[in-house]
């Protein structure tokens, strides 16, 4: 129901798998919205004994179910921005062998993955599973501002106001897709917006 099949795309576009439990001395699980379902599916009692769950509900109701998994640590953040300093600290304190599980929207996973790789976590210890909204985190190539949760193409940059089209070109370092002015060659000629995968 909440799983979306992304169409084939170019080679810079991330692809996502399905979380699987892995052996490790500690486990960090980060999810937003219905990403909680993927955490619930992957969790094992053994994993939970050394697990830290960070959850950003975004108005969903999975708190009780996640708490019932009995992780060693549980935290609920009001937003990704509110949670990032904690994520940063946990990754900084991590010991060799930490397993990272990310589930939910592309924007959250991309940013958390960047925190993890910046902290020196090898990419082979990071798993990602997309769930829920297919909205994208977009960088305006012109003003460099980030617009979160973009659901339509084209869209208006929330910083400089240019009309941008949504590219599949993706930067892991910025954790965002690239938005490029759509009416540069014909000012004001902006096609009606539609869903990114419509």
């Amino acid at each position: 129901m909440s799983k979306f099949e992304f169409p084939p795309s170019i080679k810079s576009r991330p692809i996502y798998g399905t979380l699987e439990p892995r052996k490790g001395p500690a486990h960090l699980l980060i999810a937003d919205a219905v990403g909680a379902e993927a955490i619930i599916e992957v969790a094992t009692p053994e994993m939970m004994r050394t697990a830290h769950i960070i959850y950003i509900p975004k108005g969903t109701e999975f708190s009780e179910k996640l708490r019932a998994l009995n992780p060693a640590q549980y935290y609920e953040g009001a937003s990704y921005a509110a949670s990032v300093s904690r994520i940063h600290k946990v990754l900084g304190d991590a010991k060799m062998g930490l397993q990272v599980y990310l589930a939910g929207t592309e924007g959250m996973m991309g940013q958390a993955q960047l925190e993890a790789t910046n902290a020196g976590i090898p990419h082979s210890a990071i798993q990602l599973e997309h769930r829920g909204s297919v909205a994208r985190r977009m960088q305006c190539v012109h003003c460099k501002g980030i617009t979160e949760d973009v659901e339509v193409d084209p869209f208006v940059c929330s910083h400089c106001g240019l009309n941008l089209f949504v590219r599949d070109h993706y930067s892991r370092r910025i954790a965002a897709y690239q938005g490029v002015c759509i009416d540069a060659e014909d000012l004001g000629n902006v096609p009606p917006s539609k869903g990114i995968y419509e």
Partner: protein, 359 residues
């Protein structure tokens, strides 16, 4: 020969121009009457005297004006030059390679005096005479990559090599064909080429990467690439596309010969000694259609190449909308006669353009 440096601009009034010498040595990129991607690599070991292939890093009449334009781009947007923290040593490697090459290849323009790690660099055209300590960043006004590439034409990508891949981890990019270093920095070879159509399916990038991973010190390689630019704008960046994109709509049948430029990149690849990084200079040469048409062979060939180019490539290279107007113009310079193999103009032996029946 002594180079006479032009005083010209690549913006605003666009006073950029090519001398007869520059037109003759322009790297026309089509060796036959059609074009498709290929791994068109060859060794970069000099070339005909006076050609753009002769020296390791070609210096031409546009040098000073291009460096002035670069300084303006960097003042507007310092993100055009970036280096990830692990790439500083590669920056010193590059500084050494450029200083040694330029002082050996153009002794009348550049001098390098080395006494241990105390180096004196003299760049006569730019009026620079700096003494610094090699490998000590504090002794230069910029990092080593930025310092030397503010004095060297073309864009510079410095690629780290690890995990059997190349990573775009540093660069000076102010004259690019619509790609963003700031966005692509940190990407691997397949990721930063992701938006290119057709070439992935043809296996071009897999083969090119294999070739590049094996480039050895002292054995650089080269290839040509090309695109189209309306007006001789060097900074065709995505960052500023909302400003320059509109220029594509200003072509008319009257001004196309003067305004439409073929933009050719001489791409070279050098292994760097200490860092094992690969430096990938992308040197852009611009030539207006009307200047290209002074060579009969190029006139005939350019018409045939543009006419027969697959639609995906014309779209990717950004001239699909203007292609009909280009063909109207170019067809007047194609009388159907055969052309000789290779890229060189062969002005002496190629037959002059036959006047068409209706003119």
């Amino acid at each position: 020969m002594t180079i006479q440096f032009n005083d010209e601009t690549f913006r605003d009034d666009y006073s950029f121009h090519n001398s007869a010498w520059a037109i003759k040595r322009f790297p026309f990129p089509f060796h036959e009457d059609s074009y498709m991607y290929s791994v068109n690599m060859e060794q970069h070991r000099g070339g005909p005297a006076g050609s753009i292939y002769e020296k390791r890093f070609d210096v031409d009449e546009h040098y000073l004006s291009e460096m002035r334009d670069r300084a303006m781009v960097l003042a507007d947007d310092p993100l055009r030059c970036q280096s990830l923290p692990h790439m500083t040593l590669a920056g010193w490697d590059l500084l050494e390679l450029i200083m040694v090459s330029k002082s050996e290849d153009y002794p009348e323009l550049f001098e390098l005096h080395r006494d241990g790690n105390t180096w004196r660099w003299v760049n006569k055209p730019m009026g620079i005479d700096d003494t610094f300590t090699f490998l000590d960043e504090a002794t230069l006004p910029y990092g080593p990559l930025e310092y030397i590439t503010r004095q060297a034409q073309g864009d510079w990508c410095v690629l780290d090599q690890r995990d059997d891949n190349l990573w775009m981890d540093a660069g000076m990019v102010t004259t690019q064909a619509d790609w963003s270093l700031d966005f692509d920095i940190g990407m691997n070879f397949f990721e930063w080429h992701a938006p290119v159509p057709l070439a992935h399916e043809k296996g071009i990038f897999v083969r090119a990467l294999k070739f590049l991973l094996n480039i050895q010190q002292g054995s650089p390689a080269r290839r040509l690439n090309w695109t189209m630019t309306v007006t001789p704008l060097l900074d065709t960046s995505p960052e500023n596309y909302h400003k320059w994109g509109i220029q594509k709509t200003t072509l008319t049948p009257e001004n196309i010969g003067q305004k439409q430029h073929l933009r050719v990149e001489l791409q070279t690849f050098f292994r760097l000694p200490r860092s094992n990084a690969l430096v990938f200079p992308i040197r852009a040469y611009l030539c207006s259609f009307q200047d290209l048409m002074t060579m009969p062979k190029w006139g005939r060939r350019l018409h045939r190449v543009i006419r027969d180019l697959p639609e995906e490539l014309a779209t990717y290279k950004g001239f699909i909308a203007n292609r009909p107007m280009m063909l109207d113009y170019l067809s007047k310079f194609d009388d159907g006669l055969p052309t000789s193999d290779g890229i060189w103009p062969e002005f002496e032996s190629e037959p002059p353009l036959k006047p068409s029946a209706d003119s």
